[in-house]
């Protein structure tokens, strides 16, 4: 993938073609991750485009996206690999006769078990192995983007596995031995900072903190998605949103909310943004009743020039 892009500017360009508007900072760090073959750890508030960045980049580079969504209790069988129990069982049924032959003439249970153990390899082969995202990404055989989304939701123990995979790009399966990577994925980790990640994992990564966007950047994002909205309207929306983000709310609106808001305003066929329009569409921006109330109280200030 190193040769696909030659400058951060180019990264910006190919992302924009996927409707992802990247700041110079984002483009630079993505560029570095590609050149240095290092994972990126993206942090920042919800809805600022962390997940979307990995998706857009995989499309921009025309490579597969391997997505691992983390959650509490995520374990190896969902993240790395799993034996296909049902298939193993099915084969055992189908091969019943063979197994009978094998154990024929044995004196006791122990002896029978020993004979089966001697051939158990047949059932722990790649035929019965289901590759989960981590294994898949490194054995795909072609470049890909591996998105490990919301890593902070997984248990700390899982980080240890992950670190091992990201350091050596190989996975050891006790029954099969070590599987080496046939492709080095471009790795994106995202985190909402609900807990601190281990220092070891952090040290391996380039860090990207995506904050709420500047007004200019956010206007661009909105206009890219909704080109029919007029410029003044977009400017006014974005200005209001950025002021709302300075308020003391339970949940601050992010880019996702701004985009939803734009869509609602289009649906209403509004041509202007006044207190009335704000009130009708408020539910899109404010998820909590208390927040909505605060916003409405400040409506005039928010919508002023």
């Amino acid at each position: 993938m190193k040769n696909r892009v030659k400058t951060p500017q180019e990264v910006k360009g190919i992302l924009e073609r996927q409707s992802y508007i990247a700041s110079t900072q984002i483009a630079t760090i993505v560029y570095l991750a590609i050149q240095m073959q290092r994972p990126i750890l993206i942090e920042g508030p919800a809805g600022v485009g962390k997940t979307e960045l990995a998706k857009a980049l995989s499309q921009a580079l025309a490579v597969e996206l391997v997505h691992l969504q983390c959650y509490e209790g995520l374990d190896e069988t969902k993240a790395i690999y799993e034996w296909e129990y049902a298939k193993q069982l099915l084969y055992t049924q189908m091969l019943k006769e063979k197994i009978n032959e094998l154990t024929a003439g044995t004196q006791d249970l122990n002896e029978a078990v020993e004979r089966i153990v001697a051939v158990e390899n047949a059932f722990f082969s790649k035929n019965f192995l289901v590759a989960r995202p981590l294994l898949k990404a490194i054995t795909l055989g072609r470049p890909n983007v591996l998105l490990i989304d919301e890593i902070d939701k997984a248990d700390p123990e899982f980080e240890a596995y992950l670190l091992e995979v990201l350091s050596n790009y190989q996975i050891t399966i006790p029954e099969l031995g070590t599987i080496e990577a046939t492709s080095i994925p471009l790795v994106f980790l995202t985190s909402n900072n609900t807990r601190d990640l281990s220092d070891a994992l952090k040290r391996r990564c380039l860090h990207l903190y995506i904050d709420f966007p500047s007004n200019e950047l956010e206007s661009e994002i909105v206009r890219k998605k909704y080109p029919t909205l007029n410029k003044e309207m977009v400017a006014k929306m974005v200005a209001a949103i950025s002021k709302i983000r300075e308020m003391d709310l339970k949940k601050l609106p992010s880019i996702a909310e701004t985009l939803d808001w734009a869509q609602s305003l289009i649906a209403l066929q509004s041509t202007r943004l006044g207190k009335e329009e704000l009130e009708t569409t408020l539910g899109v921006i404010a998820k909590y009743q208390a927040d909505a109330k605060q916003i409405l109280e400040k409506a005039e200030e928010l919508l002023a020039g």
């Binding site: 030659k6 400058t7 951060p8 500017q9 700041s23 110079t24 900072q25 630079t28 760090i29 560029y31 570095l32 050149q35 240095m36 990126i40 942090e43 900072n193 601190d196 220092d199 952090k202 040290r203 380039l206 860090h207 990207l208 903190y209 500047s214 200019e216 950047l217």
Partner: protein
């Protein structure tokens, strides 16, 4: 640029941010991929490599701003008034000549780079205000035509200033050696960086990804004292290559040795009185192994790299000598031979340091070190021994105790002193080398890989 990034990391450390060496290397690698003339790219690369927690971002930004935008270099924050005053002296001297170019550079050295950057058409870019690419190119083209003459002038001026700066800092005798070096370092690095910027601007586009400062830091001529950790690693590899080469030419020589060959020097020397016509050819005797080596190395931190490289080289060539014994000192001499016999270089050094609890950071004391060496090991110096001293002679105003050194040299066949410090620093007040010099057969500057190579050749070939 390496210097700059390193200093920046020091500034971060001063503010309490952890920057372990791997992070520093990570940062250096990162900036090598981007366009360092784009402030935003530069900052992003550093931030991505150095800031590990969201909470540290603000601090990073503050320090970055102070260091790169306001250009308050670290020395300003930490050095005393004297340093500032000397810097000022220098810039005043430059300004006296009065041309605009000199003023620009003087300001730059004092920490105000605006005028220089303006010349280069590097403007403070508004964050994330996309300039259409075409427009940008046009602007740049126009700018570069307009200024190419002035830039040429600047470039030449910077080159002259680099030399002036060396002179100036070498002459600042009222400063301690350490301070003087810092001043010299600071001036040189700042000027080299200015030169890089100037040259980078006039380079053809295709070379954007090259690191110009890498090119300038030619390992073989770079003083050991200035090496970064990564460079030191590379020099070590070079030393191993060098050892191989020497081994090769040695074994070739040995094969030839059975035939013997002409001693050109001797033949010509004797031919001189006869108008250069050689009446008698002298033949060299077949090469044998040289005698015993006793190496005594100063490992106080300022010169420790040089000691490591030399020791590494000696051991790679150990079959050339009947025996090598290695000693190190800061304030006392310790034998560390046995560590080298059982461990690779770095480990051997570490184990030795640990076992003897040698504090490399202490100021060295040559007098005490020679005295303690003599008391214990004088008898190992035999008529076939080459005594190698490696050190800068920086005795920190301690008593040189010349009599001990003299006694040692009398016992050895010859004494060669390798000095990893550039010659112009040899004779400062705190330095004792002038006391020891009369008893050495040779005193050689050995500050770079090239010099080390040359010396080793002469030793073993």
């Amino acid at each position: 640029m390496i210097f700059l990034v390193r200093e920046f990391c020091n500034a971060l450390k001063q503010e309490g941010l952890m920057v372990p060496t791997p992070s520093l290397n990570f940062a250096l690698e990162a900036v090598s991929h981007i366009d360092p003339l784009s402030p935003l790219q530069f900052r992003s690369a550093l931030e991505a490599a150095l800031v590990q927690r969201a909470a540290e971002r603000e601090l990073f930004e503050q320090v970055f701003h102070r260091f790169f935008i306001e250009q308050q270099p670290l020395v300003y924050a930490t050095e005393n008034q004297l340093f500032k005053a000397n810097l000022k002296d220098f810039t005043q001297e430059i300004k006296k000549e009065g041309t605009a170019v000199n003023h620009i550079l003087a300001d730059y050295l004092e920490g105000d780079a605006r005028a220089l950057l303006e010349e280069l058409y590097i403007e403070g870019v508004e964050p994330d205000q996309p300039v259409p690419l075409e427009e940008f190119k046009e602007q740049k083209k126009a700018a570069s035509k307009l200024n190419s003459r002035k830039r040429e002038q600047l470039r030449n001026r910077v080159k002259v200033l680099i030399e002036l700066a060396e002179d100036f800092s070498a002459r600042s005798f009222h400063l301690q050696r350490e301070k003087r070096e810092k001043l010299a370092d600071y001036l040189r690095q700042r000027l080299l960086e200015a030169l890089e910027m100037l040259e980078k601007q006039s380079q053809p586009k295709g070379r954007r990804n090259l690191m110009p400062w890498e090119k300038k830091r030619t390992l073989s001529t770079l003083s050991f004292a200035q090496l970064t950790e990564r460079e030191a690693q590379r020099v070590k590899e070079e030393v191993e290559v060098l050892a191989h080469k020497l081994q090769d030419s040695l074994s070739r020589k040995r094969r030839k040795a059975n035939q013997g060959h002409m001693d050109i020097k001797k033949t010509l020397r004797e031919a001189t009185p006869y108008g250069g016509i050689p009446f008698q050819l002298h033949w060299k005797k077949p090469a044998k192994t040289k005698g015993k080596i006793v190496a005594l190395c100063d490992i106080s931190s300022s010169v420790s790299y040089a000691a490591q490289f030399m020791v590494l080289l000696l051991y790679k060539l150990q079959n050339r000598f009947s025996k090598i014994r290695t000693f190190v000192f800061v304030r006392q001499s310790y034998e560390i031979t046995r560590f080298f016999e059982s461990y690779p270089l770095e480990q051997a050094m570490l184990r030795a340091l640990k076992e003897y609890k040698i504090g490399m950071g202490q100021p060295s004391n040559y007098g005490l070190s020679f005295q303690s060496f003599r008391a214990k090991w004088e008898q190992i110096l035999t008529p076939d021994t080459t005594l190698l001293i490696l050190g800068d002679g920086q005795n920190n105003f301690n008593e040189p105790q010349v009599e001990h050194f003299e006694a040692l040299t009398k016992k050895a066949a010859r004494t060669i002193w390798l000095n990893p410090e550039e010659e112009k620093f040899w004779y400062s007040a705190s330095n004792s080398i002038r006391h020891y010099q009369p008893f050495c057969d040779e005193l050689v500057e050995c500050a770079t890989l090239d010099q080390l190579t040359e010396f080793t050749r002469s030793l073993v070939l």
